[in-house]
């Protein structure tokens, strides 16, 4: 990839990390809350269903995670294996899109 492309990936990696730092915190606090209060799956769904804020939060969270994982795995592969070029870029893109699809499906499942 070009210097410009690599630099943009780096910027996106930093930006997604910024989002993740906040989102992971909210996510973990939510998990602790749910466990402490012994909430069942049904009780959780009752709280998230139809709530546009939770939907919006998880859509953004998943997008940041997908971006961060895709870019990060590409960097790790380039550093630790001889894998380079288009095939690696494509594999990283596939990982990101797969994470995005699975994550958004789950987020929509909480909403609807």
């Amino acid at each position: 990839m070009s210097a410009r492309g690599d630099t943009w990936l780096w910027i996106l990696q930093r930006a997604s990390a910024l989002v993740l730092a906040f989102a992971v915190l909210v996510h973990i606090v939510t998990i602790i809350y749910a466990v402490r209060h012994g909430l069942s799956a049904a009780a959780i769904l009752l709280r998230t269903a139809g709530d546009p804020w939770w939907l919006g939060f998880y859509l953004i969270f998943v997008a940041a995670a997908a971006l961060h994982a895709g870019i990060g795995m590409r960097v790790i592969m380039r550093e630790w294996t001889p894998w380079r070029g288009r095939s690696l870029d494509f594999a990283a893109l596939l990982l990101a899109l797969g994470t995005l699809a699975a994550g958004w499906r789950a987020a929509l499942g909480l909403f609807a």
Binding site: M1, S2, A3, R4, G5, D6, T7, W8, W10, I11, R14, R78, E79, W80
Partner: protein, 238 residues
């Protein structure tokens, strides 16, 4: 004093071996003094590199007890363990023979990082005045005393993992030029130092900073390049 230093010295090329020598201990003895003693008194076929002996030229760096150091200003009493020294050529570079590493790749990367001053058009009539208090001048000053010894390069994990990584010294040099207000080569330079082989591969381990004999912080310079290239990309100039 009559004490003896037990020195194991790398002999041969990559497929060499450590050869033991015994060198008399002297007051204020440097590691370079030890190597010179071996060559003059014990084995004249020993190859090593030095020039100034006072920490200016950057040619005498070696691996001393596992750590890259400038040998001319490293006192034996500070680094010897139980009267023992192990001397090897710099790591991350091919060995020419004995303690002389091939620095070609190291300096080629300075060229690839556009570490050369690019003048702005016509030669000015007088010296350019660069006020010492400006942020750019301060940033350039912080990295300008590099003597090109290769200690940072030999200590860098990323260089070990990625052979095409430009390395701390070349990137530090590029950063001093990015901050040189007289220079006109930044558009090309930022392109050269961005991306996978450049500043974005740095993990900020800071081994370069820890081991630099001139106390330069290449990690900070590389962080500066990350910022500069990111802003250039955002402005569409990269």
């Amino acid at each position: 004093m009559g004490e003896t230093l037990h020195v194991a010295v790398w002999r041969g090329t990559a497929a060499g071996r450590l050869v033991p020598y015994e060198v008399p201990v002297q007051e204020s003895q440097t590691v370079l003094d030890v190597v010179t003693y071996i060559q003059r008194h014990l084995d004249p076929s020993l190859s090593y590199r030095f020039a100034c002996r006072v920490g200016m030229c950057g040619s005498c760096a070696m691996t001393v007890n596992g750590v890259a150091r400038w040998t001319c200003r490293t006192h034996v009493r500070r680094v010897a363990r139980d009267g023992r020294l192990e001397l090897k050529p710099l790591e991350r570079l091919p060995v020419i023979k004995d303690l002389a590493a091939d620095m070609s790749a190291f300096f080629e990367k300075w060229t690839r990082a556009k570490g050369t001053f690019v003048p702005q058009g016509e030669l000015p009539a007088d010296f350019a005045v660069v006020p010492p208090g400006t942020p750019q001048r301060r940033a350039a000053d912080a990295g300008i005393e590099c003597i090109g010894c290769g200690v940072c390069y030999a200590s860098c994990d990323v260089v070990a993992w990625k052979p095409d990584y430009l390395g701390p010294a070349a990137l530090n040099r590029a950063w001093t030029l990015v901050n040189d207000v007289r220079d006109a080569g930044n558009a090309e330079r930022l392109k050269a130092v961005a991306g996978d082989a450049g500043c974005h591969s740095c993990h900020s381990h800071q081994s370069c900073f820890e081991r630099c004999p001139k106390a330069i912080d290449p990690t900070a310079s590389i962080a500066g390049l990350k910022r500069a290239t990111a802003w250039a990309a955002l402005r569409g100039e990269l």
